[in-house]
Every structure is written in structure tokens, then in C-alpha cells.
């Protein structure tokens, strides 16, 4: 959805000096959420980093209304909240802001229920690929081979394809995004806000603490994830898949940067053997194969 950068709100909804770690991608992401949705955004936040980031009562690090809620209940609490606000004639944009654990693991059942019912809100999974708030434990969205405090020899599993799983619910809008591509993310948020029903955005969010990289590199690493093809930017609108720039050009593997450029900056992959790296590359290749197969079936490739 096209938008005028100058028309975005100038107001700072994310306060400086809140409780986020240096280089935190969630702060960056929340800032874009507020820029895209402004005064209308009403957040529902389950347990996770943002429970802490928003700061200590009686102060608050975000100038958006926030309903904090227990871990497994974000999508269901948002369902009730959105229904009540609609009944009262309010046009708030209810936004769930949940981590990968709160979305793909403990919150998956409630998410699936809300998606199937077609509840009217935007669900954002801010994916830092492990349970960072409790101290970097593995989640079902941790990539293969990654070190966490519960996978010291590297994650034996592979990342759950959550956007695809949500898309299989046939909801009107599913998109992936990255904190390294604000225009893409903001336009997707604006598009989601214009659609009635259940909208899902999966936001890739590199975490300097958990991934073991310099806090100054958060955005750089987010961009490298996309440029190497490890994270693919796409959207499903009413079931139709479309790749978004720059991922649309990366269907051709020769256009992608070598995966090593992304991997070598992160301590969590320091121990990777050549075999692990091959495994990881294979996984990424499979993701692309799935995407291109759908595009071909649609006649778009």
C-alpha cells in the first residue's frame, strides 16, 4: 500500500530510555507500528520482551494503550477486546504484539482459533527466533543449528513455517516483514489495517543479545537475512501470494548474497560445521522451492 512518508505521524510513541536492551529490534518494530497506525493502535501484549520493554509502573515506555495478558491468551484476549470496541462503535485497530514463543508455541492454539473465527485484529509475531525474555532458550522458530541456552550443541530441529501455517487458515491477509525494511513493514501494516478480519504479519527481528552480535548491527543483520534469502519477504492477499522487494529478485539464487555473510556476524552460529551450514542452506532452499511452487501454480512465475 503506497503511503506518503511525510504524512506519517511525527509523534514519538516509543519513549527514549525505556527498558529495552541496546539495539533491540522490538523497539524498532514498535516504532514502525505506531508510525503506521498512529493513535488508533491498541496493543495486546502477552508475556515476552515487550512486557519488560514498556517499563515499570507507574510509568510507561509506549504512548499507545497496552493490555498485557498471560502468555497463551494474546489472540483470545484481542478477540474479546476487538469485539467489545466494535460493539461500542469504536474504530480502534487492535494489534497483538507477541514473540515467537507467544505465537508459534504456547499461543498457537489461541492464534489458530482467532484466525479461524475471523476475528478483526492484526496479529504481529515479532520473531527473534528464541525465548529471549527468559534468557535465550530455543523456540520452535529457532533456525537449525543455532546455539541457545537449551541447545548448546546447536538446535537439532528446524524453524516452523508459521506464516504458511497461518495462511493455511485462509485468512484475508498474511505477510512476512523485517525490521530492516521499514517501508515494506509500514505499508503492510497500513494494508492490514484497511482489511476487515484476521490479519497476520510475521516480523523478523534479529536480537543482538540472543544472536550474539554487536548491538549496532541489528538493522544490518535484518537486511542480510533478506539479502541472503534466509528470510523471504512476501504477502498473501486473499490467498494470492506475492513476493515483495527485494525478495522478488532473489528467486534467482545467483542474485542472493552468500549465506556466510549473514551467518558469520552471529555468535549463535559460531560453532557451525560445514555440514551444519549445508543443512541450513538446504532448509532455506526448501523454503524457496515452496514459495516458487506456489507462484508457479498461480501462473506468476
Amino acid at each position: 500500500m503506497a503511503f506518503n512518508v511525510k504524512a506519517l505521524p511525527k509523534k514519538n510513541y516509543i519513549m527514549p530510555g525505556n527498558a529495552a536492551c541496546p539495539g533491540c529490534p522490538e523497539n524498532i518494530g514498535l516504532k514502525f507500528v505506531s508510525m503506521a497506525l498512529g493513535e488508533k493502535a491498541t496493543l495486546v501484549v502477552p508475556a515476552g520482551c515487550t512486557s519488560v520493554i514498556q517499563g515499570l509502573w507507574p510509568r510507561q515506555g509506549t504512548s499507545m494503550p497496552v493490555l498485557n495478558i498471560v502468555f497463551a491468551a494474546a489472540a483470545s484476549a484481542a478477540s474479546g477486546l476487538s469485539r467489545a470496541l466494535r460493539i461500542r462503535g469504536k474504530d480502534d485497530i487492535v494489534v497483538v504484539w507477541a514473540g515467537d514463543g507467544g505465537t508459534a508455541d504456547i499461543g498457537l492454539q489461541a492464534l489458530s482459533g482467532a484466525a479461524e473465527r475471523g476475528e478483526d485484529f492484526i496479529y504481529i509475531c515479532v520473531d527473534n527466533e528464541a525465548y529471549m525474555n527468559t534468557g535465550i532458550q530455543r523456540s520452535s522458530l529457532t533456525p537449525h543449528g543455532a546455539w541457545t541456552t537449551t541447545t548448546h550443541r546447536g538446535n537439532p530441529g528446524r524453524k516452523k513455517p508459521l506464516p504458511q501455517i497461518v495462511a493455511a487458515h485462509r485468512v484475508p491477509y498474511v505477510a512476512t516483514a523485517s525490521i530492516g525494511y521499514p517501508w515494506d513493514f509500514i505499508s503492510k501494516l497500513k494494508k492490514a489495517a484497511s482489511i476487515k478480519g484476521f490479519k497476520y504479519i510475521h516480523l523478523h527481528a534479529p536480537c543482538p543479545v540472543g544472536w550474539r552480535f554487536d548491538p549496532g548491527l541489528t538493522v544490518k543483520i535484518a537486511q542480510l537475512a533478506v539479502e541472503t534469502g534466509a528470510w523471504i519477504l512476501y504477502e498473501y492477499e486473499n490467498g494470492k501470494l506475492r513476493l515483495n522487494p527485494p525478495s522478488n529478485k532473489l528467486v534467482d539464487p545467483s542474485k542472493r548474497k552468500p549465506l556466510e555473510e549473514y551467518i558469520k556476524l552471529q555468535g549463535r552460529f559460531r560453532h557451525l560445521t560445514d555440514k551444519d551450514l549445508e543443512e541450513l542452506k538446504k532448509e532455506i532452499e526448501e523454503n524457496w522451492r515452496e514459495i516458487t511452487a506456489i507462484l508457479r501454480a498461480q501462473g506468476d512465475l
Partner: protein, 432 residues
């Protein structure tokens, strides 16, 4: 004549309709103008959800039903709607209640009024769908108000009342109305349904401490310093105590309008002049009343004190009626394993164990207990008191006509105590 009487007293009679306890709750929810209902079916609560959906589908009730995928989501969605500023309701039983347990705490800590019906049922394993009080009593410490109906009429009246009490600024805590599985939930009784106008008069428009919505950037539930957290808990305790007065006021006014007075947190049946007292919660206290009459005919002056409210706890009333008694028998339909029934523990502490006290466990898992059983229990306890003077037995299990004293405490039965295994042996020998 009847009309004249109505004019004089101000009591406005409703329409008497035979209905199940679950229907009574559903009608109360409709009369309370609830806007959002989120629930997940579980036996024996199911009828409430079905009835509400039927009322909505027929256009008799203006509300939205959220067909959630679990009880955890049921209470979370109900809570979400309540935070969003509308009256919201859910209902559950047993495993459903246990599944939503953490959300109970979250709702109470948020100070958001929500009303839930709990149709009491045993918790597995093994599976058992019948009446027991372990589910509702497991919510005791969550900060929810808890009331317990004796009959279908009360299930309706208490549900309407619960909205008013929980939404009172002096309270602002959520509330549970309990009704016994099958005994009330599936049993038809005549219920007087008040007119909508009457309920509208009784129940003011929804009030709540805050809403979460755009334009008011407040955060609800973010991290709080420990000292402030403790003060918050102290405030919840104060509000729960304050709820006593709110309940009394609301109950009195409801009585003026309907002729059914709920101004007391307890119901006292012939307990003022009694030597002995039954104390308990729920539907079987109706049987206790019949037992009281039968016992009085036999020359034993019994009374029955039913706790209509469990939280706030009717401490004053219990002491007023219970302290001077010869013996108090507390009937419990669930046990805190290794000690005694939860109601016994509460009552015993309120009475400082001053009178003779016996905690009788019975009817667990829906085992039928009728007034004749209660007469038997009463005579047994009266006999113990006659024989020994003062007795204090926290856990005496009454099972199929026999008494099984349970540790802790002395074993004060007149018969040789028989172990449960012995009964099983007997049962086996009968079978083979």
C-alpha cells in the same frame, strides 16, 4: 388482593417458568444485558452456552458469542471484552475451570468485573462428570467473589446480583456463581423470572475502573515494583471485605423488588435456637434442612447454616450462629488430601475450634447423599458428643452408610474403624 399486596410492598412478581439451573443462569445473563459471551462446552455446563446461543439466534438477546477453542481462551476473551468496556460472561466446570486458572488471577488482579458461572463437577483422573466442589473451591484464593446457589431460583438471582456487586466501585473484582452439576444444572424447578424492567432498575449501566482503547494510552498489567504489588494485593483484600456491605445492600434491594431477600451472606435455617449445626455450601444444604426437621422430631435440636457466599467469607455470621453450639458438623463435598475438607478448614478457623466440630466428607464424585444420610450423620456425631463431651474431628468420611475416620486427628467412632480396603474386599467377595 394479590395486586394490592404488591402495591403495598413494592414487590413485583415475575413469570414462573419451569427450567433447569443452567437455563436459569442463561436467562439471568440475558436479563443482565450481557454483550459478549465466550465459552467452551464442558459437561455439565453445556446447556448454559447452548441456551445463550439459542437466545441470541432467536433475537431475544442482543449479544455476541465468541466460539473459542478452549476454556483458557474463553476466559481470556471474556476478560478482553470486559476490558473493552462491555458486560461479559462465561461459564465452565471442572477441567475447564482448572484450565483457565491463570486467567482467573489475571482478571482479578486487573480489577475488571467479569461474571462466570461454575457448574460444579469432579476433577479427574479418573473421569467423572458428577457433582463435587473441588473445582469451585480451587478458585478460593484468586481474588474472585464466590457465591454458591442452593436452587435454580438462586442461580438466577445470584447471577443478576453478581453483575451489580462486581461492578460496584467499592468492589471492582470479578465474581463466580456456583451451581451444582446435574442436581441443579439439569434438574427442572419452577423459577420466577423477573421482568426486564425490574432488572434494569436493579442493575445500573456497566461501571469499571478503566477501559483499554485508543485515545487513552494507559498500560494495564505491566511490571510493578514489589512494594506497589503488595499494596495492590492489600487493596484487593480491602475491596473483598468491602464487598460484604455491597452484597448486603444489593441483596436487600433485590429483596424489595422481587420478594426474595439476599441481604445476608448466609442462610440460617432454624439455627438460632439449635444445639447442633450443619454448615455447608450448595444444593445439598436443602437436604440438610429436611434433615433438621426430621432430627427435631426425634428430639435433637439441629439447625442448618448455609454459606451462600464463600468469598467474601461470612466470618461474622458464622461466629454469631456457630460459636455457642454444642457441635458443628461441616459438610464437605471435596477434600484437601491429607487434611480435611476445605469448608471445614475455613469454618473451623472462624470458630476458633471452640465448639465440638466434625468435618464430614461425603458425596464426593457425585455419590448420592440424601436427608436420611444426613440424619444418620447427625445422630452419629451427636452420639460422639454425648459419649466424649468435646470432639474435634477434621475428617470423617461418610461413604455408603459407613463412617471412615481419616487422619489427622483421633479416631473417635464407636465402631471399630474399618479400612477402605476392607470394604473393597467385601465388595469383591460379594461379586465373586
Amino acid at each position: 388482593m394479590a395486586l394490592e399486596a404488591e402495591e403495598k410492598t413494592g414487590v413485583r412478581r415475575g413469570t414462573v417458568i419451569p427450567m433447569r439451573g443452567n437455563d436459569a443462569v442463561a436467562y439471568a445473563v440475558k436479563l443482565s444485558r450481557v454483550k459478549v459471551v465466550a465459552a467452551y462446552p464442558i459437561t455439565p455446563q453445556t446447556i448454559i452456552v447452548e441456551k445463550i446461543d439459542e437466545l441470541i439466534s432467536k433475537g431475544e438477546m442482543d449479544a455476541e458469542m465468541i466460539h473459542v477453542e478452549s476454556e483458557h481462551s474463553a476466559l481470556a476473551a471474556t476478560y478482553g471484552a470486559a476490558v473493552g468496556g462491555v458486560r461479559a460472561f462465561t461459564a465452565t466446570s471442572s477441567h475447564g475451570l482448572v484450565y483457565m486458572y491463570e486467567v482467573l488471577w489475571w482478571a482479578a488482579g486487573s480489577r475488571i468485573p467479569v461474571v462466570m458461572a461454575v457448574v460444579t463437577r469432579a476433577i479427574g483422573a479418573p473421569w467423572n462428570i458428577h457433582v463435587e466442589h473441588s473445582d469451585i473451591l480451587s478458585t478460593r484464593d484468586t481474588g474472585w467473589l464466590i457465591a454458591m446457589a442452593e436452587n435454580n431460583q438462586e442461580a438466577l438471582d445470584l447471577t443478576v446480583m453478581m453483575f451489580r456487586v462486581t461492578e460496584d466501585p467499592r468492589v471492582y473484582l470479578p465474581g463466580i456463581v456456583g451451581l451444582d452439576g446435574f442436581i441443579l444444572s439439569h434438574t427442572v424447578e419452577p423459577v420466577e423470572v423477573p421482568d426486564q424492567e425490574l432488572v434494569d432498575e436493579f442493575l445500573p449501566p456497566r461501571r469499571q475502573p478503566y477501559t483499554i482503547e485508543s485515545g487513552a494510552p494507559i498500560a494495564m498489567g505491566n511490571i510493578i515494583p514489589d512494594e506497589a504489588f503488595e499494596e495492590h494485593r492489600m487493596d484487593m483484600h480491602e475491596s473483598m471485605r468491602e464487598a460484604r456491605r455491597v452484597i448486603e445492600e444489593a441483596g436487600r434491594e433485590y429483596g424489595k423488588l422481587t420478594g426474595r431477600d439476599y441481604s445476608s451472606l448466609v442462610e440460617c435455617y432454624k439455627c438460632s435456637d439449635a444445639d447442633y449445626l450443619f454448615v455447608g455450601i450448595g444444593s445439598w444444604m436443602g437436604d440438610a434442612k429436611i434433615a433438621v426437621d426430621a432430627l427435631r422430631e426425634k428430639g435433637l435440636r439441629f439447625g442448618a447454616l448455609r454459606l451462600r457466599w464463600i468469598r467474601p467469607f461470612p466470618w461474622d455470621e458464622l461466629r454469631e450462629y456457630g460459636l455457642e453450639k454444642k457441635a458443628v458438623i461441616v459438610l464437605d463435598r471435596s477434600i484437601s488430601f491429607g487434611y480435611a475438607g476445605p469448608v471445614f478448614l475455613e469454618v473451623s478457623s472462624a470458630l476458633e475450634a471452640k465448639p465440638s466440630m466434625v468435618g464430614v466428607l461425603a458425596g464426593v464424585g457425585g455419590v448420592d447423599v440424601n436427608y436420611e444420610d444426613m440424619v444418620k450423620i447427625a445422630e452419629h456425631v451427636a452420639g460422639l458428643v454425648e459419649e466424649k463431651g468435646r470432639v474435634y474431628v477434621p475428617a470423617l468420611w461418610y461413604h455408603l452408610g459407613e463412617f471412615y475416620p481419616m487422619k489427622p486427628g483421633p479416631l473417635p467412632t464407636r465402631k471399630t474403624p474399618r479400612h477402605v480396603n476392607k470394604l473393597l474386599e467385601e465388595l469383591w467377595s460379594k461379586k465373586t
